[in-house]
Symmetry: D3
């Protein structure tokens, strides 16, 4: 594109759940602003964008978060046809995959490249921007299996040497009778009401440990259910004397998509080839 073209983005959720289940922080129906978590944080960045939001495929893993490899693969496979259809529609020049663990991101980018469409996802975008700002970043995450999966993402995306640690708040949604007792919606409401929050306190405690023990200099979040914490955590750390940027995924992925559309790039055809490829390399070294 040329930089003067309008920005036409489709934002795609990782999955949709029946009302009253999930984190309670977003809706899978209704006006598009309700379908984004923390709309107030994101809205200023979308002001000059022509955007739609897709609720994502219906969840097959129940009312909990996507946490295991099996669940992430199922979510990825269900989201890819939506990506393909969006690319084929010709209506978008940028696609933003919402959600914390990027289900389907790399094949989605592969699809997008064939159409010249920039595709970004929240974990990947946060990591790229975090790597610009400090030597190492740490991830604040929600549960044991989620952070094991996220660790694999960090390796897969090539940020092994840039990640100081993953810090696990251990607050998964209820599953199979087990519950951490944390309600994201209630915690957010408490914070908005100026009250204390065990979730915020845990995030601050883990972030300070990440700074002092692990070498963290920037923070990102592993699960989108925590993204609303970003400005709060940044303020709390600043009050302690730690001047560290705290990113979240929606804003990171949207702005990276903007950058790529404005520069006219989606991905390298050698990193994301179609089949058959127009030309083959004889040797690839690692």
């Amino acid at each position: 594109m040329s930089a003067g073209d309008e920005l036409r983005f489709l934002l795609i959720q990782a999955f949709s759940t029946p009302e009253g289940t999930g984190t309670g922080l977003r809706s899978s129906t209704g006006p598009k602003s309700a379908m984004l978590m923390n709309y107030e944080l994101v809205a200023p960045l979308l002001r000059d964008v022509d955007w739609d939001v897709h609720p994502g495929p219906a969840a097959t893993h129940g009312p909990s978060l996507v946490e295991t490899r099996e669940e992430f693969f199922a979510a990825a496979a269900a989201r890819l046809p939506i990506v393909r259809e969006a690319c084929e529609s010709g209506r978008y020049n940028g696609i933003v995959l919402l959600g914390g663990g990027d289900p389907g991101f790399l094949p989605a980018r592969e699809i997008g490249r064939r159409f010249g469409i920039a595709v970004n996802a929240c974990a990947n975008a946060q990591m790229h921007i975090a790597a610009m700002l400090g030597t190492k970043f740490s991830v604040i995450d929600v549960s044991e299996p989620h952070s094991v999966y996220y660790r694999a993402l960090i390796h897969e995306y090539g940020f092994t040497s840039k990640c100081a640690s993953i810090r696990n708040l251990d607050c998964p949604l209820p599953r199979g009778g087990a519950s951490s007792g944390v309600s994201y919606r209630d915690e957010k409401a408490r914070v908005e009401a100026g009250q204390s929050s065990v979730l915020v306190d845990a995030a601050v405690e883990q972030a300070v440990a990440a700074i002092e023990d692990d070498g963290a200099e920037v923070f990102v979040f592993g699960c989108s259910a925590l993204y609303w914490l970003a400005p709060i955590l940044e303020q709390r750390l600043l009050a302690l004397g730690w001047q560290v940027p705290v990113l979240e995924g929606y804003r990171s992925a949207i702005e990276l998509t903007r950058l790529m559309v404005r520069l006219g790039v989606s991905a390298s055809g050698l990193a994301f080839p179609g089949a058959p490829a127009p030309r083959a390399r004889r040797v690839k070294r690692l």
Copy 2:
């Protein structure tokens, strides 16, 4: 298990194709020996195993090889329910995922671990065994997109520093009107008839380049359609003075499954946790 228990394996193909399509090297129906490629190489290793073979899910990507990320994700998602069902059946203590690019391996291992069942796949098994035998291995592969995907597997499995190179023979199956002109079945038949083969010659040429230029000391194959080349390539290299082991995936994955079953191990619960996890770690460093 204790080492005296019998070995009960299910071998699962990556996908099934209608007769007359695909590589022509295996059938998706018929006696189980016909459903394995190169049965003569594999049979001695299965002699004391009680084994079944599953033809894999019906291919959704057409008659070609699985090559792009989009195709690998679709194959993975379709194979995982077969793995889950096999585990739940209680009939097996080992599962071998057949095919070159391991679609669905890591989530399949995650599923297997919850049942105490060893799950292995051909690329992963070849790499582990290759790493025991020499400093670096090279991969002989079939096409540009397949080897780009395989390169990602090597990184994902943690063998970056063990892989010298991927050497691409550039002989994909026909797709979208494009064809490399190589028939795997014909080439194999020529070799069995004692005739020369352009495929064998290309493999030897690339392997020698991998030894002399890239530092290869062991060879593995990227695509299962090339596995029959293993003993032939090893002999040809030996005749040139190069004493290098050449592995292939079926035998490697079967013997690694045997080892794991005999030792009573499937995987670490910390590397492949279920949800909810019985216990959580506060911090993970990379």
Copy 3:
């Protein structure tokens, strides 16, 4: 800032030379559009930016390119007071350091952070964006000492594992009686006139070697005197079947500055602390 704020950028050249010396591709006086190389490529990205350009400090190294460590340090030291003054003026929320080898970038970013001002430079920005698009990038560069310096930058910025190679066209400006015989201005004029160019041919030849031998999947340029080649090289490679993005520094640095200003980030205070620091860490691991 909030995303609705206007963008106020100062672009600072690495050094100014008397008219008639240097590459001849930019002026150190005159209208601001003449002070940018390749204004036609950059102008669309600056359309909504309130921008100034500073000609940079007077060159102390003579009419050639900045090439040795001694020269880069001198250029850096001379540019830093301009950065500090711009930050103190309160007139800008983004600073773009022009030129290929980023003289003074890291201390300039340190200065900027204390003021909450985003500072970017061309090499650094190109590398960050290249790392988003493919597995490895290669650098097309101008001379032996320049590319030795650039190699150190790659290590310093943490892109060692992302860089496939630096390919040296060996076309420095005349120095001490030695000359490569290449005039950047003449070559650019030839291309604009639809004529063949030895410089373009050399760039294509080295880029193809970088793809086939080194594993390059994206290209950046080491010296700003080559930035005009970006769209030309991309087209030439595409015509050969290689679908690879080719970046250049001005556009990359401008858009990264935009992204940082819109997200309200400059850098981590732990990576770029002031003195005295508000808070100290007891231990830093590498």
Copy 4:
């Protein structure tokens, strides 16, 4: 070999000591079952193997463990002639080097390869299998100098990035008047009698620290005097909610030897060349 061949293994101890010295966990004379530690754990794996055991060369370092580099080199040099003689005898197709720190393993494998005989050792085998099961393993070890030597082995074998830590129980055998006060035989007897054991408690404590602080997901043992702890430690960790495999060296090395014999591989001739080599490479990159 073909997979139907019988398995003919020679197990070689690292050194023999006069009765009444050493750990007291094995004999250097008597029936072959008495010469293996923890015979009850190993016997099921040897049921279908035709095996002998060699007591190893007489210890030259006194009644303590092999701990320093000087002692490891002496033990290695003394064991290699036994390996060579066993290979030349034609009686074995697999050799298993017993003991924790693998004295002489790499030259022994070099010797074995010339005869097509698989040679394995306990530390190396544990590491290869541990690397299959989890992201990182930790080592439970006996003393300061032993674990410094073991650390060098980990680097030498190429498992640097796979090892989370070495945890030292600091319980060496008496030496030069110094004693840790721990008797391996007494501790094992206490455990078998259902009593508590300071050694087991220390191993559990260090293993939990390795999981929580170092990132361990699998355990191996540094010294063969600790191998009997494997099933006990695994159970104790499981009771705490940590589902982690705990390996030991005898079983690991025996099964890896089985795998290699069945696959017909010993090692690459390029990694373990004879002299003169049948063919030479001009260049080796690291």
Copy 5:
């Protein structure tokens, strides 16, 4: 040179301060012995050297230590003309850059190489020697910004994998109204008087933590104001049972310069090329 030639060294301070400011440990005027800190430690090594000392450029950053990147760049730029002049004078065959953070070292070595003169600096020399003596070294340093800069030096010099940690005593000189309350001169005087010292105690505490938690096996110092601690810290650690070498920068840099002069080497012309270079390489891999 031939080994029998005399050694003619110029030692150059990083900066000079008015009497009564700075650390108080050295003078910027007076006899040359007063211009070196801890002359009694260094004098034995200079006995057979014909040496001069240059007080360094006048400090522009005020009476504090050089701590920020901006200050290090300013100090570097000011010192390089002194290096150039010394090389051009023909009076020296070795140059030793004094001070902790090596301002200007790499361009100074570049200048020296063109004249065949060995140039060394304190941080670089300490790291090279530390890497000979143990697996990993730790750095004892003075302040948050100083140790952030020093961390970058460690990466730049290629010692990332050799450095266990930087331990920060947090005792900067007064700056902008802030003060750590530590006087280096007073602490040194207390130690010489046989009294206790909070600085020594803090160094011992951090060094023990570096040994036990970080894996330090050798120590170096980040700031030259701490060099007098070297023999004291070594003794204190030895009394605790830790047999670890503790280096400091003056002695390390002087002896490395001696070694280089005696061997007739300064640096590789490919790592530190002049401009124009006598010969160019087409490709550089990282």
Copy 6:
């Protein structure tokens, strides 16, 4: 020691051979100058040293070079008692292990440390000094098995990232009826007589390839039979425009020993502990 103490070195050959066998470049009897190869290069550095030379243990591997792992282990084990005896004698403060592949170096350094005696070896010393002079070094070596062993040394010493390549001239001494046809003594004599030499030409050819293809910026030699080439190769490369230092092992090891004795260091007691160790660390990370 204090720097004024005299230097008392013992130089120990790797092995002694009957007159008329081996390379013919040194004697195992006679005056000490005859027992050193290339005495004229080394003598200036030993002028102020009180030195002895030990002929090394009698070779057990026949008249060829030490090349295989088995041979290197035998040579190491035979040399260590000489080292121990030298340390116990109290006559030396430095020990220099002569020969190319450093048989027994690390245990010898361990022994030396307990006595406070600096022990160095030719390969290790060359690598440390090469790492000071350029980004990467290449090794010029003699044969396939020797360079495979040398590659392991490079990894073991921690120089993996500093070594560009090993270039093999493929000129082993005769062994088992095979011969490369190169006589080191004859080649050296030809050079001294001003004649051309196939060995020198091969070294130049490989060195140029190492510079242009592998990234070499400094050279070292793998086998001591090639050390006499150092000044000749350096001159030949300089004549081609390549300004690269070429080191050899005797001079490097002698000067590194001098440096260590003058600084009063031998090795860290944590890297080379005795048994029992005075103090133990609980955890070691890699």
